[in-house]
Symmetry: C2
Subunit: 347 residues, 2 copies
């Protein structure tokens, strides 16, 4: 596990086009945990929907040779691009840029030092060209120096008002309704549903219960080193500015093994960062559902990856090679355009 | 989290007196997951039993100001010395010494190299004086170089035959019946029960479901770095010979935050390695049960710590300072001698 190597930075770092999303407008917090409608009601009939239904039927049918005992019913979901919108920039990256502005008064030295100088000067072009190391520095410094509790408070506060530049909605409203339906159906079928994200574990834990119905202990993600400290006689878990675990690419399979210790029977992703998670899931015996969300709907959401349409933003990379592997291994590719009748609750 | 620092070795390393337990006798594997009897039937009436019952009553009574919502009902249990016998040596250390013997033919160089030379020569005195670094080397090398699946197979194989030097029982039979009763009662009361061990996470996961009714995803422990590799076209999680996470002392509070992301309402330990877990548990609002098992029963088990009786084996250190903190903070100390009517299922 090379998570402790400074050379391997979080794929959070792979962010560009962020400038277009940098505007943070005030808004109203709304609950977004509405129960999804009847099972898979936002799905068109087709091979993707059928693959989900066939899998669940086999896994839960005691007379099936593919029956999966309840304790082994594990399903893992990538977040960015699989559960919610990741374009034109990861929500967490926007949050980090916001934090640079908020923290600047306490860091006068940032005015003269990159990458902070560019952020504070809103230098759109420079920000778009930030290296992985630049992003790592921004993420580590803005996400540390406080307790877990304080950090999650900041995340919730930000999510309550920050709005997506195109949809003008709270980020937590930009969850894919069809995917929440899949999660709900799997849970109704006895599956334990996990978020397995390259993003920050504690960032996602701040809202996963409310938004996805997934409790903190079922959110696995990238994390910072933390320290147990006494403050005024009371213990605190303090966040430090260095990477502890990189939960992306091979890290997703490793994270699943580390946190769960069981191989999932179902896994959902949308990019090369999810490749090993699907490989790990698919290598077990019995029924295994492996699905990739393909963003091919520029009108209702975005089109990128093999569908083209967006310049390479280094976000949600869905290469031709990944598509080839999906075909070769029988992974199911979900077409947002064709498989989903609705994308958001507000559609 | 200094888990990645080689200077901070696993407290597995704190092992001595191991030589007396080095004999491994063949035996018969038996199921040890019998359901415990009626709730707390192996407990004498007294303040310890009452503390457990009062806590559960408050936490589950909707009309109580101390009511704990079901999703927050988390209880964490140390393993060695809290759930099963840890004297005269940790089971996992005995397993590691066994592995040195088993692997020796593939490592001719060990014959001339410490600490392996002493193990292979059964040099009891030398083994008893092994440093933390010696133990780390033994543990890392014997626990790595294979897949998770292979490792857990070895653990299960060993547990099926290895016997405790004094009790002549399988290690999995040396589980404290009263503690399994507490676990079962908490689960019946809606608590999610976790093992939080300084020992190896994957070692304990090999039997925790069967022995404690605790699934792998609820076992948090010390872990090695792992790597995702392709072997004959199939992915494997390979164990590497270096420490990834040290789940002892402050690491227990950190591990709880990392894996669960919620503060426990109940925590059970027996040594200074559990101190921060109990501090972390106790620092939250609402009802919090903090308990320490005190080994004061030389006749039925062992007497060590403040009860004295054993030479300092560096196992299960229960210092006077820990007893003072327990008194000052109102932690409940369980007297094995006085609070437990039975210790083992076979009593």
């Amino acid at each position: 596990m090379s998570a402790i190597s400074p050379a391997r930075m979080n794929r959070r770092a792979l962010l560009a086009g962020v400038a277009t999303a940098a505007a943070v407008l005030p808004g109203i917090a709304t609950s977004v945990a509405q129960a999804p409608g009847q099972s898979l009601s936002s799905w068109n009939d087709g091979s993707a929907k059928q693959a989900i239904l066939d899998f669940i039927r086999a896994a839960t049918d005691q007379s099936s040779k593919d029956f999966v005992p309840p304790e082994d019913r594990i399903a893992t979901f990538d977040q960015d691009g699989t559960m919610w919108v990741e374009q034109p920039a990861y929500a967490q990256a926007i949050f980090a840029l916001e934090r640079v502005h908020a923290l600047a008064p306490q860091h006068p030295e940032w005015r003269g030092r990159e990458p902070f100088k560019a952020v504070l000067g809103n230098e759109v072009g420079t920000i778009a060209r930030f290296s992985e190391r630049d992003w790592a520095e921004i993420l580590f410094l803005t996400h540390s120096g406080m307790s877990q509790q304080e950090f999650q408070g900041l995340v919730r506060q930000w999510l309550a008002t920050a709005r997506h530049p195109r949809f003008k909605r709270l980020y937590t409203e930009l969850v894919y309704r069809p995917m929440r339906e899949v999660m709900a159906l799997l849970r109704m079928s006895g599956f334990k549903t996990y978020i397995v994200t390259g993003g920050g574990q504690d960032f996602v834990r701040a809202y996963a219960q409310k938004v996805y119905g997934v409790p903190p202990e079922q959110v696995i993600g990238s994390s910072l080193v933390t320290k147990f400290v006494m403050k005024d006689g009371r213990p605190e878990i303090l966040r430090l500015p260095s990477l502890f675990f990189d939960d992306d690419n091979a890290g997703k399979a490793i994270g699943i093994d580390l946190f769960i210790g069981k191989r999932p029977h179902a896994a959902f992703g949308n990019s090369t960062g999810d490749q090993q998670m699907l490989e790990w899931t698919g290598a077990g015996a019995g029924p295994r559902l492996k699905m990739l969300v393909h963003h091919d709907d520029a009108q209702r959401e975005y089109a990128y990856g093999p569908a083209g349409g967006l310049p390479d933003t280094r976000i949600g990379t869905f290469s031709e090679a990944l598509m080839d592997e999906a075909k070769a291994k029988g992974w199911t590719v979900i077409s947002m355009k064709n498989d989903w009748t609705r994308i958001f609750d507000f559609d």
